[in-house]
Symmetry: C2
Subunit: 347 residues, 2 copies
DNA sequence: CAGACTTCCGAAACCGTTTTCCGAAACGGG
DNA sequence: CCCGTTTCGGAAAACGGTTTCGGAAGTCTG
């Protein structure tokens, strides 16, 4: 067997001209074949394909991009690459986008506007076809400085904005809260307390409204005295739960608006000797990874992070292909995941 | 005030020719100015800069890449985008790499070789300057199919390989285990049990060797009967701990080779009524986010994930600039994070 | 059989840079 | 004053594709 010197890795890069030469046609024809353009006979098509295969030809997408001013590339800028919600959203984006032949640039802004801007400029220079901005935080950036994008389509993920003509994808906090509160009410709980996050979050307000809505629908009274607002963290849950349970008429259910709050509350309940779920039902929000490891495992309403990512990717791709769709706010439905902390059997 | 029709976003894209025209020089000169090339007078330099600023000129990096065959772009392929260790490594990579003006393409292979290959081909077509492969799993891919990269530099992150001429960055499992076992020994524990992961992992072996080394150095006897191998998961920790604690001569310390194992063990100890850390000291590995939330909070040896990512990025960049450095295995030192589960006061 | 289409293919321009190479001007030394 | 060197600037050729346009040949009509 002779040494296979012309091995598959095909020494330097083989261009469309090399293929043309081997196939005995012009570069233009090769281009047409590679792009399945019409008006080339089946015969030459075969010849060209054979030549391309033989030479192991791979079109240089840089050159293509230069001519076409389309790169099949997206930018993805996140506030917080290590944020607990970021990964799942990114996975959703990557999934739909790479299935369509697009690649995505990953950028981490650390929540710093200057860094975000710098990344954006690089992305623009690299001629991305679109940009997704992920925020780990749900803050609304009302007065945020306008981004230096030209007419590059953008979608915001897990982030609200007032900017014109940009699409936002967020979880349906209202609906999620309806799910959770409805579950509690369906289980016969009558005095349902809410331990919420900081008041300035959109989510906080929407979730509270969701609870009210669900309770009203179920005919369960809503007692505003049973609502607490604090931080999203554990300590806040501990404090609020301790407070609520020492009320003259304590609640029989705690709806915690984050799983962290819920584990804090769980700690408080444990310390007070109240049993979960017998004495008090407990439900969290977010479906964090640790929720399932609590004792008892935490019922919680799951954020549809992967779906949100998928939707964001789809929206962006559609916008790139079909051009300027209107700004819109997409709320992706949450899902209730039933575990033991409310006393319901698993569905 | 007249309408600022020639607004800063500079309608279409302004090219080097536009700048040249405005500055009254040739495109070649503009290029030289933009790249700080020598042999252009300070005067024209100024003129050109002014023109560029005025037109808001941003060089088209696609065109530049075409000519230079350098894209300032890296590919990053991960086994498991949602893996618990992935994010931190990615952050490390992104951090050093974007500081040097490089962008990174994010790809998720879901551990599927075909998908990995497909991503790799896209990356090559897009002419990335280098590739990093992250594995969420520590498996050694001995017979892994050769990757279809030409002479593009690669570094493996959190992954061993036998392929020639590729650099690997992994945690120093041996050193980490020495740290943990040394801590236990220093606290006066004499019967130190090990709950390890599956035997076929490199890490499993290295960590066990680390324990033996540390114990020998501290003059603490090593009892092979106190070693258990199982899965990395909680259930495995529960079973092994239950088993160990019902031995005639139970251990006074448990070195769990993952935090998941440790929380399983913690559950077993709790159910058996043995107190942590009074009766038994417990130490985990990985420094997972939930370690701090255990009761008692878990002492653990932290994986240097961000540092590993940084190192991988640095190595790749160096290789890109300086060309073919030799294959090497880099072990990044772990760090002991002391909490309450061993009874030590915080350092 | 003439004329109108249709199909097939290639020459050449183009996308926006970088870089080589060459000529002109300025400068310095003998 | 003449002849090397530098210094400065531009024309033109890449880089590797795509696309327009026109010509040649073949296929229908009537």
């Amino acid at each position: 067997m002779p040494p296979k010197d012309k091995a598959s890795p095909s020494s330097a890069s083989v261009t469309i001209r090399d293929v043309a030469r081997l196939a005995g046609v012009s570069p233009a024809t090769v281009s047409k074949v590679m792009n399945n353009a019409p008006y080339v006979s089946e015969e030459t098509r075969q010849t060209v394909r054979a030549a391309a295969d033989k030479l192991n030809f791979r079109p240089n997408s840089i050159a293509r991009s230069l001519k076409m001013s389309r790169t099949a590339t997206l930018g993805l800028i996140t506030d917080d690459l290590e944020g607990v919600f970021t990964m799942s959203m990114m996975r959703g984006v990557e999934e739909v986008v790479s299935a369509q032949g697009f690649s995505v640039f990953l950028c981490n802004s650390y929540g710093d506007a200057a860094r975000e801007r710098a990344h954006l400029e690089v992305l623009i220079d690299k001629k991305v076809d679109g940009v997704i901005l992920i925020s780990g935080y749900r803050v609304r950036q009302r007065g945020a400085p306008a981004l230096p994008l030209g007419d590059i389509p953008v979608v915001y993920l897990y982030q609200y904005t007032d900017e014109a003509a940009v699409r936002c994808v967020v979880p349906d906090d209202f609906g999620g809260a309806v799910l959770g509160a409805g579950h509690l009410a369906g289980l016969g709980r009558r005095r349902i307390a809410v331990i919420n996050g900081p008041a300035h979050y959109e989510a906080t307000r929407h979730r509270l409204e969701g609870v009210q809505h669900a309770l009203a629908r179920a005919g369960v009274p809503f007692d505003a005295a049973l609502v607490r607002a604090g931080k999203w963290y554990e300590s806040s849950g501990y404090a609020a739960a301790s407070d609520l349970m020492t009320l003259p008429a304590p609640p029989d259910a705690l709806f915690c608006m984050s799983d962290s709050i819920a584990v804090g509350a769980l700690g408080a309940l444990h310390d007070l000797g109240v049993r979960v779920p017998q004495d008090v039902a407990l439900i969290g929000f977010d479906n964090r990874s640790f929720a399932v490891h609590q004792r008892p495992p935490l019922t919680t309403v799951a954020l549809p992070l992967v779906q949100m990512g998928r939707l964001a990717g789809d929206l962006l791709l559609k916008d790139i292909r079909e051009g300027g769709s209107a700004a819109e706010l997409y709320r992706v439905p949450c899902e209730l995941v039933v575990r033991q902390s409310c006393g319901a059997s698993r569905a």
